[in-house]
Subunit: 344 residues, 2 copies
DNA sequence: TCCTTTATACTCGTTTTGAGCATATATGGG
DNA sequence: CCCATATATGCTCAAAACGAGTATAAAGGA
């Protein structure tokens, strides 16, 4: 760290204690770039994870791919990310978007005891590549493996009524302070759509954070140094606070779907409207009304028919469509303002 | 930087060149936290800026307040930010939200020649404090001083037709590659609402980036090492790439307004509906239809009347309202889905 | 009193949305 | 060939939301 940089930073920090221009300040920071790389295949949203040997047992543990940011090599953070992802995963990334910068002490099991603080800049990336094409260490996982309560496509996931709702209720009730108790109930109701509140598929992160606070995901025990009971933790855990980054990515993608035509980054060049709908549903985790979806997509000018028909399907052949790139030049915020429907 | 952290980061980077566990890697990184601190007073959105002596001339130069993140002192980035802001500005921050992490080489005039790369994590913070209360170095500036083309409340800003539109058109036309020329025109039309495209008040960052690319803001000349003509640059410049951070903050706040009740962080405990509307208008920079705004706010359950009436105003006294906190517990995303109207 | 100013109630046509019905066209089994 | 089944696609219909007003109320000042 240069003296110049420290000095500059302290221009507005006259009272700050560490204004000494010593060459190596006691605190140091490492920047990691973490990637939520998503693809959709057979109506399933996949996220790329890397297997890592657990420090203690030989248990399999998974985490998001990440790599250090090297300021000497890369002009921007995004370039750094794209470079190492494409080098290591052999994937071509289409859409890339910065998610959030995470730097909580105590929510990381790597470097936690070292003298260096790790700051993770999370990125969301979309790719159309087939799951087979990736490098050996990499695995594609259905993202609902980490968030089983987020898939409402067929029905409300049983885990909610069987485990999440009762345990969260208990957690709220065991609080003695009535104000906090009320807040816990309110958050639970709002996040998980209790008492007639609607299920908001975008609140992936809020739900995960609530479960973390209530100690229902095993990262919570791990971060407190408590013994981890694999069976009790909801969903599969990830190393460090990477499940939080994944939750952020899922929520962001679900939200972005509605006002930007990002789904097409996940679609083949030609597709049927049902293909498209299934992809949107896979990501958003809710079921959509077919006819209204079609109306939205066609009236919004997002696609154009190719004139050709599919043959493979069981029923009447569907027309094949392609994305209308021109829509990006015509409308300010084209997307699917999807709202989940009861049943078809 | 510890060897351990480097090693951990390289688990997924076997091919990476700097896998040596040397104690001090050649590249180092400093994290700065920059704050876009906003308040609204007399129908004007103010942002807190700090005066800094320019390196060359004695010219006054302004930038956002920022300070280093000290990983030893603070558990999270947000805590770090809140701490130094409250220490140095004597302001109480209400709402705080992370914006984006900026780390482009060459868009910073500080530390650019040093051997340390500065990564800025931008934050948006809202406060209700009166502009007078801040510390000596700090100044509140109308944010439209930096973005004069963003204030459409009274009329379309003249700067658009007089300078921005013609110069952007020229910039697009002087491109010889027809594909790129088309893209430049498309972006211009979309960002600035040409040819009947609507003005989207949320695209603050996109517009700034376009002006930067076209060389119409003086940061663009500065970053290329060209002489800076104060008169030609649009809006007032800021040091480093802080006007970009401000643009991000403005856009984010304008967008957030629509689905979260954040305006109330900027309002006194009791206010009239016109007060509220003027505050929303000040931020979003567009004029709203009074009766429809009222309908939205009241039907949405965002406020409740106190029964008392104002006296100060010219015309008929207005009822005073307060924010209904309960709405946060009732609805998933309460806010103002405002759409600008022609004229009242 | 009348004029100006702001507040507030109400209307009205249009668009958007949610939900469903009806019909068309394929497949595979008898 | 006819039928059950599956998917595709066209169309309706009522409710809600939206955009743009008009009309009336209640204050102060000339």
């Amino acid at each position: 760290m240069s003296a110049k940089a420290v000095k500059t930073s302290n221009k507005t920090n006259k009272e700050q204690s560490d204004a000494s221009d010593g060459p190596a300040p006691q605190h140091s920071v490492v920047i990691d770039l973490s990637a939520v790389i998503v693809t959709v295949e057979s109506e399933t949203p996949f996220v790329l994870v890397v297997e890592r040997k657990d420090a203690k047992g030989g248990k399999k543990s998974y985490g998001l791919p990440f790599g250090p940011f090297d300021p000497d090599l890369h002009r921007t953070l995004e370039i750094g990310l794209r470079t190492w992802v494409e080098e290591q995963t052999y994937l071509h990334l289409g859409y890339v978007e910065q998610l959030y910068t995470f730097g909580d002490r105590g929510r990381s099991d790597i470097g936690a005891s070292g003298d260096s603080r790790i700051i993770s800049v999370g990125y969301l990336a979309l790719t159309r590549e087939a799951p087979e094409l990736s490098a050996p260490d990499n695995v594609w996982h259905n993202w609902y493996r980490y968030f089983p309560w987020e898939d409402w496509r067929d029905h409300k996931p049983e885990i909610l009524e069987e485990r999440i709702e009762p345990t969260l209720g208990q957690w709220a009730d065991e609080e003695t302070d009535n104000v906090i108790k009320q807040q816990r109930w309110d958050r639970t109701r709002l996040c998980f759509g209790l008492d007639g509140m609607p299920w908001d598929e975008e609140k992936v992160l809020e739900r995960y954070e609530l479960l973390y606070e209530a100690g229902l995901v095993s990262e919570a025990q791990r971060d407190q140094g408590l013994p981890v009971d694999e069976e009790r933790g909801l969903g599969q855990a990830m190393m460090s606070d990477q499940r939080r980054i994944l939750a952020t990515g899922m929520g962001r993608l679900r939200s972005k779907l509605k006002y930007r035509p990002v789904v097409f980054e996940l679609m083949p060049p030609v597709f049927t409207l049902l293909n498209l709908q299934r992809t949107v549903e896979a990501i958003s985790g809710v079921h959509l009304h077919k006819q209204n979806f079609r109306r939205l997509v066609e009236k919004g000018g997002l696609v154009e028919g190719t004139g050709k028909k599919t043959t493979q399907t069981a029923g009447r052949p569907a027309e094949e469509f392609r994305f209308r790139w021109e829509v990006m030049r015509e409308r300010p915020a084209p997307g699917f303002r999807v709202r989940s429907s009861s049943r078809s």
